[in-house]
């Protein structure tokens, strides 16, 4: 533990960098995937194109992508933008499939009812389809979050500063504990992100509780739903 304890400042600093680098790609892949998922549900050809290109994008090895990106988007080789764009590409690759599935998971009868009530197509998307796609979107973004946090580490190879540094440095200097500290810190970050995403989901989707919980709540009839959200 001695290495870890005497380098807590470094670990914390790298963790903050790690979060900074991971956050934007996660948010971007969520936002970009929604229109793509929507398009995928317009017709079968578009769906095939989008799903396939998602899988293809994900198979691009990360190292060459980091190297090629500066040439393609015209950034400097050691720019963090390279990493953020690359991670967003991977995130979108995973997330657009989830988004397509999420939007098609919404019950047809509910969409039909919403139309019959007099929702315009636009209002129906934002106020009915997107919220109801929420649970599946949430599952998708949790996967993206974990994989993005893992992938950020690879960024050290192109000069990015994050928890990956501990793997590289620890390996070069033969300090096993430094590598271990990097792994544990990454895991904790991934866990933290996951918990935050789940909490956001609970706040935004109070209607999406499992049947069992609502039933036991109804039976005890003591805890009103509102208190539960705050807790």
């Amino acid at each position: 533990m001695s290495w870890t304890l005497s380098n807590l400042d470094l670990i914390l600093e790298l963790s903050v960098e790690h979060v900074r680098l991971a956050l934007l790609p996660i948010v971007l892949s969520f936002v970009l995937s929604i229109p793509l998922g929507w398009l995928a549900n317009r017709n079968r050809t578009l769906r095939a194109v989008i799903i396939t290109s998602g899988s293809l994008l994900y198979t691009i090895p990360s190292l060459p992508l980091f190297v090629i990106l500066p040439i393609v988007i015209g950034t400097r080789v050691l720019d963090d933008t390279n990493l953020i764009v690359a991670l967003t590409i991977y995130g979108v690759a995973v997330m657009m499939r989830s988004a397509a599935d999420a939007l098609s998971s919404v019950d047809e009868a509910t969409i039909d009812a919403a139309s019959a009530m007099g929702f315009s197509t636009f209002a129906r998307f934002w106020r009915v389809e997107l919220p109801l796609a929420g649970p599946v979107l949430l599952a998708g973004i949790r996967v993206v979050s974990v994989s993005t946090i893992a992938l950020v580490s690879v960024g050290v190879i192109i000069g990015s500063s994050n928890l990956g540094y501990l793997f590289q440095n620890g390996k070069q200097r033969g300090i096993l504990e430094e590598v271990g500290a990097g792994i544990v810190a990454s895991l904790l970050l991934a866990l933290l992100f996951d918990v935050i995403i789940v909490l956001i989901g609970r706040v935004l989707m109070p209607w999406n509780r499992s049947e069992d919980r609502s039933r036991s709540r109804a039976r005890s009839n003591m805890i009103p739903i509102k208190q539960d959200v705050g807790a």
Binding site: D112, A113, M117, G118, W207
Partner: protein, 294 residues
């Protein structure tokens, strides 16, 4: 008044669901479309709020061709109750009821407080206001569906097999409730069902369909029961088996009670009046056997 002028609907796969349908539905009356599945009754209903567009023909509401109206505005002006309620699962009961007024631009708070009154109208406890639809029973959901349809006080109420998914006891309850509501509200109701008894219970006017949206017979329940137009109608309403031709019969030793018997002499029930006069002095029972006292 809803007027159909030779309306035809052919689906892309070639099926002609409705062929040259012409009919007028009177205002402020309940018209019930009844027929077996695939007879085109739901298609006709859904053409009224343009959820389905006719291939040819015209539909007029109070003399205005609905094709000239904005689709979304038209739908907001017509109440619609669906099978299995069709409530929005992510919205609380109160917000579900307030859906259409909010879409029409009524401030949320005002729409919600009006929705609270509607809970009373449809006989639901106000404590349900903050529940989500799936926390409700099927019958309660259906009542919320009716409240939602009434929220913007539309003249027309379309009801597409609204009670098809609830159990028979709740169903009978909802039917009587709807009759009570209709007495107070006087909406132009178009109700689709495949249950002829439901049709007779609710209708001012019953329209019995054959396949392809062809009218087998239209009339008041009494007219249809008294004079079924053809064998198809007879079979459909069950009068071919003699169940609908009832007679009064007094038998020896019945203490003056009057039986109601069908064509073959099978007792269908008792004439409540005769029991009341018999039991008037001894037991103050409910006046009508079997039916809920209102």
């Amino acid at each position: 008044m809803i007027e159909f002028r030779s309306v035809t609907k052919q689906f892309p796969d070639g099926t002609v669901a409705v062929n040259e349908f012409s009919f007028t539905l009177p205002s402020e009356k309940a018209t019930v479309f009844v027929g077996s599945s695939g007879c085109g009754k739901t298609t006709i209903l859904r053409m009224i709020n343009r959820m389905i567009e006719p291939t040819s023909g015209q539909i007029l509401i109070d003399g205005v061709d609905i094709q000239t109206q904005n689709k979304v505005e038209l739908r907001r002006s017509i109440g619609y109750v669906l099978q299995a309620a069709g409530l929005l699962p992510h919205r609380k009961v109160l917000d579900n009821i307030a859906t259409v007024p909010v879409l029409k631009g009524v401030p949320r708070a005002a729409a919600r407080s009006a929705a609270l009154d509607l809970l009373d109208t449809v006989g639901l406890d106000r404590s349900l206001a903050d529940k989500y639809p799936r926390q409700l029973s099927g019958g309660q959901q259906q009542r919320v569906g009716v409240a939602r349809a009434l929220a913007s006080d539309p003249n027309i109420l379309l009801m597409d097999e609204p009670f098809g998914a609830v159990d028979p006891i709740v169903r009978a309850e909802l039917q009587l409730e709807l009759n009570r509501l209709q007495r107070d509200l006087g909406k132009t109701i178009v109700f689709v069902t495949h249950d002829i008894d439901e049709a007779f219970t609710l209708a001012d006017q019953v329209v019995i369909f054959k396949k392809g949206g062809i009218i087998a017979q239209a009339g008041t329940p009494a007219e249809i029961l008294a004079h079924p137009a053809d064998e198809f109608v007879e079979t459909f309403i069950g009068s071919d088996k003699g169940k609908r031709d009832l007679r009064l019969q007094k038998r020896e030793g019945d203490n003056g009670l009057t039986l109601v018997v069908d064509k073959d002499g099978r007792p269908a029930g008792i004439l409540a009046d005769s029991r009341d006069s018999e039991a008037g002095s001894s037991s103050p029972g409910a006046p009508v056997q079997g039916a809920a006292a209102s």
